[in-house]
Amino acid sequence: MDKFLYLVSEGMKNIWRHKMTTFTAVFSLFLALFFVGLLATAGTNTHKILHYFRAKYKIEVFFKQDVSNEEAISYIHRIKRIEGVRNATLIDKEDAVRIFKDQFGEDILDILGYNPLPVSAVVNLTRTSRDPIKVEPIIKEISAINRVEEVRYQGNLINKIERTYTRILDRFPYLAGLIIFVAVLVIYNTVKLSVYARKDLITSLQLIGASRTFVKMPFIFEGLFIGIFSAALVFPALIGSINGVNYLFMNYTSWGIKLIFDPTVLIWLFALVIIITFVGSYRAASSLLK
């Protein structure tokens, strides 16, 4: 037990003895973990931005002139059953006159003496689908209703947004992998340099008769402490950054997007830093042992 406590205390003392090396290691680790954390948060919030855009998707369905409000309602029920449709709202002939007046400032009944505007519907698409929305099959199905005169939609815009989302989703794992790989390299090399700087200690311990485990343990504890310090700095920094972004979204945009910070990211980051610092310090110390 005394031996174990000594090794733990040595790990802690080494941090104090080598303040500059420790500072460099903690700072490098902090930066690497911060970017990984931001990436993870971005990953968990990508769908929110997509949902925001999808909420703007709108398909306008114009029925034939002689379609009555009641008849249109039955078609709207049919439209609602189409996969990918979230909602469909009827705009009857009277509503159409009111919308016309709102948009153009003129009452069409006064101008023409009759109401030429057809019954129409506004169709909204599902927002929460994980898969990209394919709007063409929905349009095709609506157009197949023989009492539909015209379907208007933002085809290019929807396709562009969905394509971009698919691209992000496809590349996200590679990007995350790359950033984590760089983070691992940074952390590993920092720990390794810190161990190399104390080559004389390793030599002395070996000459005294210390076992390989005894030599390695203080470095491993030191690495773990550095990891814990870094994680302790990263957690508030991440939460603060996300709160800051949310403040900007809420006060300076009309998007209504609020980023959510997933607490499991902290657990993953902590696990990541522990594994990396353990492996880094273990391997670095091992490479110096003859």
Binding site: K3, T203, G209
Partner: protein, 217 residues
């Protein structure tokens, strides 16, 4: 205690030792003398298994180089104390921490360590300097600190490789006297030196190495 049987070791860039046969008994104080490059340090490194012979066998305290694995080397070294010309003290630790290091390695209880360190420092004449760092000590004091670290674990064998190499004549003489007093407690000592004047007439066997070959005893 220390036995060399037809031991040969060659360094990549030459030198080393060639077909050495020697035996140092328990409790013996021997000097190893020879010019620079004669193989004194190689012989010492073979004793503490820092080098494994190309041919022949080194046997130290029952540990044989022929059966030595990396895992066993630390065990073999635990009964050997070492003093080096360049001291090998840790600059970032004070004298207390440097001296106590072997006790931590051997797993001594924490409450016994301060007393033992105090005794060892007193023995080498460094009492009251336990809070000093190596750079705050003179060469002679650093060498005595190195000696304190070597003897604190009460080793069966004490190896001193050119311990007076960086010391003035007075400090060198005092160090040899110190080694002799440690020898009186029953410790086997092998001290390498190229300073014949320092070791002559002290009544201890002198092993002479020249170009890796043992010339006489």
């Amino acid at each position: 205690m220390i036995e060399f049987q037809n031991v040969t070791y060659a360094h990549e860039k030459g030198n080393g030792v060639n077909n050495l046969n020697l035996s140092i008994n328990e409790g013996e104080f021997s000097f190893l003398i020879g010019p620079t490059g004669s193989g004194k340090t190689t012989l010492m490194r073979l004793v503490y298994f820092d080098l494994i012979p190309d041919a022949g066998t080194v046997i130290v305290n029952g540990y044989s180089s022929g059966k030595m694995s990396k895992r066993k080397i630390p065990n073999a070294r635990r009964s050997i104390g070492m003093v080096f010309q360049d001291y090998k003290l840790l600059r970032d630790r004070n004298l207390f921490e440097n001296t106590a290091l072997p006790l931590h390695v051997l797993g001594f209880p924490g409450n016994e360590i301060p007393e033992r360190v105090e005794e060892a420092l007193e023995l080498v004449g460094l009492e009251g300097k336990d809070a000093h760092f190596p750079d705050e000590l003179s060469g002679g004091e650093q060498q005595r600190a190195c000696l304190a670290r070597a003897i604190i674990k009460e080793p069966e064998i004490l190896l001193a490789d050119e311990p007076t190499g960086n010391l003035d004549p007075v400090s060198s003489f005092e160090l040899v006297r110190l080694l002799e007093s440690i020898h009186e407690t029953g410790t086997t000592i092998l001290m390498a030196s190229h300073n014949y004047n320092l070791i002559k007439g002290r009544g201890h066997p002198i092993l002479e190495l020249k170009e890796g070959v043992l010339r006489g005893r």
